[in-house]
Each structure stands twice: as structure tokens, then as C-alpha cells.
């Protein structure tokens, strides 16, 4: 038989198993007032440049990657490199152009302002 057949598929042809960071769903607080929705997320150890905030089609994707610096021998380790990721549905009434975010002490604060049309309005009654 001149033809060689591989009975097993070769492992290295399987390109989809790349190294993946463990992912954690971070804890959030969500607040709302008349002007905006405010979202707080705990992301300890994540620096500003490693945070991605995407809004697309009514969905808000949050992602923050933490890379720890290691030095010396590990005696114990309870946390390490991780990706914080969570997705939210946001109402259509959010003004995407005005969304802003700040990061202080490992807490991400995301301001989602409501568009003018969605803000509550007080309607005056005119005397007839």
C-alpha cells in the first residue's frame, strides 16, 4: 500500500485551543437617577489601558485584564492573571456618545447618561 492514512487526527491541527485566561464575572452595583445610570464594578489590579468597554446593539461589554507581576518563590497564591468580563443589556435611551468611565482604587465607575428624550419631564397644566 503506497498510501499512508492517518487513523488519528494530528493534535497540532487543532488550532482552537489557545491559552486562555480564566475569566471572572465581576461584582457590580447599578444606580440610577433622572439623568444617568451609574455602574460600579470591582476590578482589583486592572490598569486603565487593559480595560475595554464596548457598546453595540443595546449590549454593553465590559472587559478588564489583570496581569500580576511576580517575583520570588510562591509560598501561596490565591489570585493571579485573570480577565474580568461581563455583559449587560442597556436601554435604547442611553446617549452612547456621552458615556464616560473612571477607574479609582480598582473600582471602575461607568456613567451612562440618558438621552434628552428619555429624561423625565414635568408637565405644566395650563389653565383653560
Amino acid at each position: 500500500m503506497s498510501e499512508n492514512k492517518n487513523i488519528m487526527k494530528r493534535e497540532d491541527e487543532n488550532m482552537e485551543n489557545t491559552h486562555e485566561l480564566p475569566s471572572i464575572r465581576p461584582m457590580v452595583d447599578i444606580f440610577e437617577n433622572d439623568g444617568e445610570i451609574l455602574l460600579y464594578t470591582d476590578m482589583p489590579g486592572v490598569v486603565k489601558k487593559d480595560i475595554n468597554i464596548n457598546m453595540d446593539n443595546g449590549k454593553l461589554y465590559l472587559s478588564g485584564v489583570r496581569r500580576m507581576e511576580k517575583s520570588g518563590a510562591t509560598t501561596w497564591e490565591e489570585f493571579g492573571d485573570v480577565e474580568y468580563t461581563r455583559t449587560f443589556s442597556v436601554p435604547q435611551s442611553i446617549d452612547i456618545a456621552k458615556v464616560s468611565a473612571e477607574l479609582t482604587d480598582g473600582v471602575l465607575k461607568l456613567h451612562l447618561p440618558k438621552s434628552e428624550a428619555a429624561k423625565p419631564r414635568r408637565i405644566e397644566i395650563k389653565s383653560a
Binding site: 492517518n6 475569566s23 470591582d42 490565591e78 480598582g106
Partner: protein
């Protein structure tokens, strides 16, 4: 004969495909189970790492949302206690939709492997991670022994 071989090949191909799917499933399972979503361990204490750097120890702890004033670090011999209280950062005039983070009160103590020099301990807080550098006491430092 050759058609048989291709049959076997196809069968293994299907098995590989199924194994791949199961792998993915179990990966998803462990990813969702292996890490709790919260930054604290189940009994309400923040996660810590301890590294031995030879001359000193480095301890890292996850303390998001804590200010410098909210943390207390006490050291007695080789007994270290970190405690803290996170104040509620609830903004004024907002209604709450979801509250998972909450206020937080913790105390974690640990025994270090050796005595440390308590006068030279340094603590730094950056991006919600507390890093302590604890130089070892003179007697506990590694020493170079020369052969005569």
C-alpha cells in the same frame, strides 16, 4: 479495501469532533465554577498571595475600593493581621438597581514563615491591590557559607 480505510478515518474524525465539543463544554463548566465571581473568598476575606524573595516577603491582597485610611495592618513578631472596612460608595440621590458589592468589613491574619523586621515593613496601595514588603529578620535571612 480503500473505502474501508476512509470509513475508519471518517469515524475517527467524528469522534475527534465530539471530543472537542465535550472539552469545550467542560472548559466552560470549570471556568464558571472554578472561580467565584466575587473578589473575596467564601468566608469573607480578601484573596492574598505570599511570595518569598529571599531577603524579604511580599504579600499582595485584593482590596478594591478601599482607601488608604480604610486599611489597618498590624504586625507582631511573625503574626500579621490585615483588617479593613470599605465604606459604602453609594452616590447621593440615586436609586439602587443592583447591589452586589456592598459594604465590607474584614480581618485576615496569617503567620509568616519566619520573623520579619517590623521597622522596615512597607505597604503600598495601587489599583485596588495592597502590596506589603516585609524584610526578614537578620537571623532568618539566607546566609552564604564559605568553605574553608
Amino acid at each position: 479495501m480503500f473505502t474501508r480505510w476512509s470509513d475508519i478515518d471518517r469515524m475517527f474524525g467524528v469522534m475527534d469532533l465530539m471530543r472537542g465539543n465535550f472539552d469545550r463544554l467542560s472548559n466552560e463548566f470549570y471556568r464558571s465554577r472554578g472561580n467565584t465571581s466575587s473578589w473575596v473568598l467564601s468566608d469573607g476575606i480578601p484573596r492574598t498571595n505570599l511570595y518569598d524573595k529571599g531577603d524579604s516577603f511580599a504579600i499582595c491582597a485584593e482590596v478594591p475600593g478601599f482607601a488608604k485610611e480604610d486599611l489597618n495592618i498590624r504586625l507582631q513578631g511573625n503574626y500579621l493581621e490585615i483588617s479593613g472596612k470599605r465604606k459604602s460608595d453609594l452616590p447621593e440621590g440615586y436609586s439602587i438597581h443592583r447591589s452586589e458589592r456592598g459594604t465590607f468589613d474584614f480581618s485576615r491574619s496569617m503567620t509568616l514563615p519566619t520573623e520579619v523586621d517590623s521597622s522596615k515593613v512597607e505597604a503600598a496601595l495601587k489599583d485596588g491591590i495592597l502590596t506589603l514588603t516585609l524584610p526578614k529578620a537578620e537571623a532568618a535571612k539566607p546566609k552564604l557559607i564559605s568553605v574553608n
